[in-house]
Amino acid sequence: MNRICCLSMNHKRASVDILEQFRVNPEDMLPFMQNGSEIYALNTCNRTEVYWINIDDSTIVEMLSHITGIENKLILELSEVFRGREAVEHLFVVAAGLDSLVIGEPQILGQIKDAYRAAVASATSSTLMNKVLHRTFRTAKRIRTETDIGRYPVSIASEAVELATHIFGDIKKSKALIIGAGDMASIAGKRLKERGSTNLSVINRTHKRACDLAAELGGIPKPFDCLMDELTLSDIVICSTGSSDPIISNPIMENVMRARRNSPIILIDIALPRDIDPDVGRLYNCYLYDIDSLKSIVNRHITSRELQAEKAREIIEYELGVLGKWFTSLDANTTIKDLFNLMEDTIEHLLSDMNVSEQEREKMEQSLRLSLKRLLHRPVSFLKEHPSVKHIDTVRRIFQLDENNQDRHKRQ
């Protein structure tokens, strides 16, 4: 795992302007790839991260500077660099949404998967990176299913829709009414549409704006005079106008409830100042939520997500252990391979100093190989049975395998 490194530039250190500029595609990185190297790049609106294996740090920074046009010094100043286990842990944390602005947000995993597909398509990701990313997907999935990190919404619009589903169940069958055509009304309308609401009306004092929003949401615009009729027919009402006085008063709502024969209605008032008289909430089967009550619910959900993050970190720790074992076994295999390379080099070196016939040379080579294989049998068996980092390191140091590898490269 020590071979993997990460450079992360995100919303915590860099401004939006820099983040917009600091974006990399796998195709741009191809000219910088070396033999046996792997690169994976992730770009989202809040972060750009580059993970690499078997490439020098200086080459990576040089490459990023070349692609993005940002100076090397500035890149290093605004970003964080993680190595080995820390780099993989960071990727797991990002994939689980623990490092996002909104803890536990699910979009990041989709973005990581898209970036992986792009890396595979442009052949910048290979065996090791593939293994790391597949483990990342598994970890993120476990966190989403085994913890409640993404269970409860943390935006006011989503919360409003969630409340409506608790009352009406499948909101596809419920009629929704949006009063107002501002940004908040638009966001809430989009959330309703995402959850399958098809029967949606929009009312606004300026009818043209109601028409525009209705067209955007696939709803029906209605004139402001139809407010009473629409309230009578609707089950979910989202109110967000710029009016300074309440547009739905208690007497109006009493008449509405009488007309709809006390059928339940949920009223979401996300306007400031409020559009709905607070007394309306006391009427029978009127479920009224204003921005304060929604905020308090959302804050509780944020706290709940923070608590769930602890559980998520335990899962990350476990999955890191599993991946670490895989990398260690991979390192053990590499060390065993290096030991046999050392054996071959030793045989070649010993025979090159001897002045003997070809027949005798073959015999000597066979007996030398047999002796050395017997000698290596015990350390190889030991490494296979105990492939820990400590043992691998000890074997590499005793037999000076790294030095031997360097000599081999020089000879080649």
Binding site: N262, S263, H301
Partner: protein, 271 residues
């Protein structure tokens, strides 16, 4: 170990699994809880069939037998609800109640006691069976009302971040409540008519069954009022749920209180 004990242990185990599912929402518990629920119902049916076989008539001639039948029929009504993912948690509210009642009934021998039914035997099972079906549906209505009020409270307080908050939607609960109330009301009404015919046939004096008839009439009126208000002024949701709870308490008073205060309220020493 006898069959009633096995049934009771299965009910206890199923209640634990359902409550665990309600609190944890682990997916693997869904299949397990359904399987256990079917086991409970089948074993319970076996107990009733064996009692029937032993006493040679439908085991509906004493309060324990009637209560046992009510729980069994309510289990049957809950079966399709438990099979739906959106309403499976209702089992976590029904089963503990059912288990507590069965804990008093099943280990005793009261299910095997036979009582004299008298003449006009066909009117008696029609009367008791209709009433017991109606009461089983009121048990369903009671559990649904309880869940409705709990869920409404959760929604009002905005405590949507607890595992228990994933209860069925209010409108769905209201539909179940309405269906069980309406059908229960019809069954009780039919049962009361058959009861009247049976009492007439046996020439039982009205004075001797007055407490039972009066209490039954009051309970019938409460449910009639609930349904009327729903049709007339749209009393959906919490008001219906509260009336159902009151009606159910009244039913319990009828079942136990009248029997305790007037041991011969039926005039012939039955129910």
């Amino acid at each position: 170990m006898t069959l009633p004990w096995i049934v009771l242990i299965t009910y206890i185990l199923t209640s634990i699994v359902f409550i665990t599912y309600l609190m944890t929402r682990k997916s693997f518990l869904v299949s397990l809880s359904r399987l256990l629920y079917v086991c409970c119902t089948v074993l319970h049916l076996l107990v009733i069939v064996l009692a029937w076989h032993k006493i040679h008539h439908l085991p509906l001639t004493s309060p324990p037998q009637a209560m046992n039948m009510i729980i069994f029929l309510a289990s049957l009504v809950f079966m399709p609800l438990v099979w739906r993912r959106s309403t499976i948690v209702l089992g976590a509210f029904f089963l503990p109640v059912a288990t507590c009642i069965l804990a008093f009934l099943l280990p005793s021998q009261s299910l095997l006691l036979s009582s004299a039914i008298g003449s006009y035997r066909y009117l008696y099972p029609l009367h008791t069976l209709s009433v017991v079906i109606g009461e089983a549906l009121f048990v369903v209505a009671f559990v649904t009302s309880l869940v409705y009020l709990i869920h409404e409270r959760i929604i009002m307080r905005g405590s949507l971040h607890t595992p228990i908050s994933g209860l069925p939607a209010l409108m769905l609960l209201d539909k179940i409540l309405y269906a069980s109330l309406s059908l229960g009301f019809i069954a009780i009404t039919v049962g009361m008519i058959f009861g009247g015919l049976w009492a007439t046939a046996l020439e039982i004096q009205i004075g001797s069954i007055a407490p039972k008839v009066t209490a039954g009439g009051v309970m019938w009126a409460v449910f009639a009022l609930s349904l009327h208000q729903r049709f007339a002024i749209g009393w959906k949701g919490s008001r219906t749920a509260i009336i159902t709870l009151i009606g159910f308490c009244l039913m319990l008073v009828l079942f136990f209180g009248i029997r305790w205060a007037y041991p011969h309220a039926h005039g012939i020493g039955l129910l």
